[in-house]
Symmetry: C2
Subunit: 452 residues, 2 copies
């Protein structure tokens, strides 16, 4: 009887609280969708600063801009957290060219980009076209002196494109050294994409120090298809010219804006995206979108005069693409200072229409967040699923066991533009970008208010 009474009493209390939350979230959403600054900020970052690989002067400019913009968004204070980052430069334009077919001279340039961290080199060799590492191992005796061309295609049957990326990623990341292990002199990789166009996609590659370092480049999908067809019928000789090299490591900064919590016992909530990008296009979706969404959440909290219980940190991480040194430094410092981190959220899936969050936390915490679905669903969230968090906040989870999550934008268009010259401002839709920020704002507000 008592239980029933409590249940009856509890219903209206929960409803009133949920209703107040719904009203406040709607107010924040309305403000973001009408007064949001994220799109204008993104315009500046992409058009005035442009791409900004770690260590570059453009990255330094982006850091300065990030500090000022974080203040404009309303941070109580801005911390510049120093870290060392690698400084890879592409050098002159890469060139991949078919120079002969069946020993007949040709001069057909392919749409290609050296992979990130590739050495500079100039080689010519016959191409051996390979579908998989299994096939490479089986044909190891044919590899010596050749250019290995990995043509592992995205599996288009996956509805979520990140699944296809996850599966194909190893050919870009470790393909060159796997090929070098058997004596290859160069490596070409089908771009990690399922697009219909011919933009090549660069991205992180890592040499295995046990084997010679060979030049490595990604091909646009149309050219990858062409080269594959040729190689099945003809002897194809290709030249690869790359000019990549590492300069000395550079001092860089995570830009951290704080919104101070009012609780006596300080706990932290982190929201972030990464300020660096690859050295092509404008880094608009990867991850300019995440950078400006992060600051948009800060802006709207200040505009609403919201006083959080916990200190909320808005972080522009320094070095996601080729090192993760920004994220590592952030976690190291948190550990060193014995900070208590309640939750961290990353946005690094592009500025596309939001569908929810992927969360790495325990079952009880997941259930708590899932109980808020009615508050999030009006803004596009329908997925609150167990999974991962972003790369930059991974170290926080590893070192401090902080529950982490990432925004899940719709993934269909991401790998059309990811790490290409086509990742430009024009490929971000203003409302999609702002709606991502709305969903982030709502989640952070609820976690700040109700804990985890």
């Amino acid at each position: 009887m008592k239980k029933i009474l409590i249940a009856i009493l509890a219903i209206p209390i929960i409803s009133v609280a949920q209703n107040q939350d719904a009203v406040f979230i709607k107010k924040m959403s309305d403000d973001i969708l009408t007064n949001g600054k994220a799109y204008d900020w993104l315009h500046h970052l992409t058009k005035k600063i442009g791409n900004r690989v770690s260590g570059s002067s453009a990255f330094d400019k982006a850091t300065d801009w990030g500090k000022v913009t974080m203040q404009e968004a309303g941070a109580d204070n801005v911390i510049m957290q120093e870290c060392k980052v690698p400084h890879w430069v592409r050098g002159n334009n890469d060139e991949v060219k078919i120079i002969s077919i069946d020993n007949k001279k040709q001069s057909h340039v392919l749409n290609a980009l050296a992979l990130g961290n590739s050495i500079g080199s100039s080689i010519e060799a016959n191409v051996i076209a390979i579908k998989s590492f299994d096939e490479l191992d089986k044909r190891k005796d044919e590899i010596k002196g050749k250019i290995v061309f990995f043509n592992y295609a995205f599996n288009q049957t996956y509805v979520e494109t990140f699944q296809a990326y996850g599966e194909a990623g190893k050919y870009r990341y470790s393909g060159p050294s796997k090929a070098a292990q058997y004596g290859a002199v160069g490596c070409l990789v089908r771009s990690l994409s399922g697009s219909t166009d011919n933009f090549p996609h660069t991205g992180m590659m890592k040499y295995n120090d046990s084997f010679p370092k060979i030049p490595a480049a990604a091909l646009g999908l149309q050219d990858a298809n062409k080269l594959w067809d040729m190689c099945t019928k003809n002897l194809v000789k290709v030249s690869i010219k790359t000019h990549g090299k590492f300069l000395p490591d550079v001092t860089a900064y995570n830009v951290i804006g704080e919104l101070k919590g009012i609780s006596a016992a300080i706990k932290y909530i982190t929201i972030g995206g990464h300020l660096d990008s690859w050295d092509v296009g404008e880094g608009a979706n990867d991850d300019g979108a995440g950078v400006v969404q992060t600051m948009e959440v800060l802006r709207v909290f200040k505009a609403m005069n919201y006083k959080p219980k916990n200190t909320i940190r808005f972080v522009l991480f320094a070095n996601e693409e080729n090192g993760l040194n920004g994220g590592r430094k952030y976690a190291e410092q948190a550990l060193a200072k014995n900070e208590e981190h309640l939750f961290a959220l990353e946005t690094d899936g592009g500025g596309f229409t939001p569908r929810g969050f992927s969360l790495k936390l325990n079952e009880e915490q997941l259930k708590k967040i899932q109980s808020w679905i009615d508050l999030l669903q009006p803004y596009g969230t329908h997925k609150l699923e167990a999974g991962g968090g972003g790369a930059d906040i991974g170290p926080l989870n590893e070192k401090l066991h902080t529950p982490i999550a990432e925004l899940l934008p719709d993934s269909q268009r991401y790998f059309d533009i990811h790490h290409t010259n086509n990742d430009v401002f024009e490929n971000v839709n203003k409302r999609e970008l702002l709606l991502g920020a709305v969903n982030m704002t709502a989640l952070i507000y609820l976690i700040d208010k109700y804990g985890l």
Copy 2:
């Protein structure tokens, strides 16, 4: 006890059936995402035929193409259903120009498009800028001899953009005659959009025969903002030159592909999009996407050798944009032939990533469809909500009480390109387009198998 036993027995039976359905739907999805023809078809329709307003020779070409493509997709037979459609032509290019500000001569052309069905005329007059019909009524004595400029903006706080469109739509549809009622000589309307660009958006306008017909055009949003600002401070005189007129009605056709049902008692399921478009851009999202998605469903059913219980009709409607004569004719014929129509589904919200369906049916039917959510959710469907069906199948619902529904693609980008020169093939993403077809295929399959 018996009830409990039935329940226990029923669970595995339902699970096996659901599992078989899940496997078959996955197989169809895989085929669409790898072998789908919708994107190639859309390329042909947009790039080889282009925009195709009712009555135009391009529309006739599209009809011929639709017939052939329906056969290619595997229709058992193709019916060309005759109907009469209006034939409005824009004539020469429209021009809207600021010719003086505070009586000082100017020559500043605004980005404008005559509204669909506007008369041709050449006028010059001072502009009165108005926010709403309420304001128009209040200021009715100031209207005579002027150009009324309705500047009712999209409400950006709505998460679903169709809500903003629904609210602002009356200014385009009936604004010109409302203005003419008080003696206006011309009408300008802020484009029905929330975009960041300056493309003007045409679309259906209807004159009220009780009042003089005045030329009417839509302005791009940037120019609408500029003109509004000027009109608040200055006396602005504008010239409007339009050349629109109606030619005699034309014989056109709904293109109907059939996949014959195996049941003895023939019932019909209809899927459709509209083949006509406005006379600008390429009609890629509106509604080329729906046309090719419709035929994609047919293609995959044939590829799977699926034998439906009911006869499924794949319909390319003739005249959605300015008359609805195609949809009306289809319902009239269904009524005249005493056909039993089980369900009808329209796809006319653009080729964007799918989020579910809006359904107009009774509560029991809605619950039945909602019980399939686990089968649809893997492909992006999370909304199965009571609402409307598409315009073309509206008459089927009105005359035959057929349950109807429409695909709900994500709506954020639709009104950026709707009825503009920017509604082109390049603004349709292949995977988003195909995923729409996947969700339609799954829903139609389940309704065909389990009824409503």
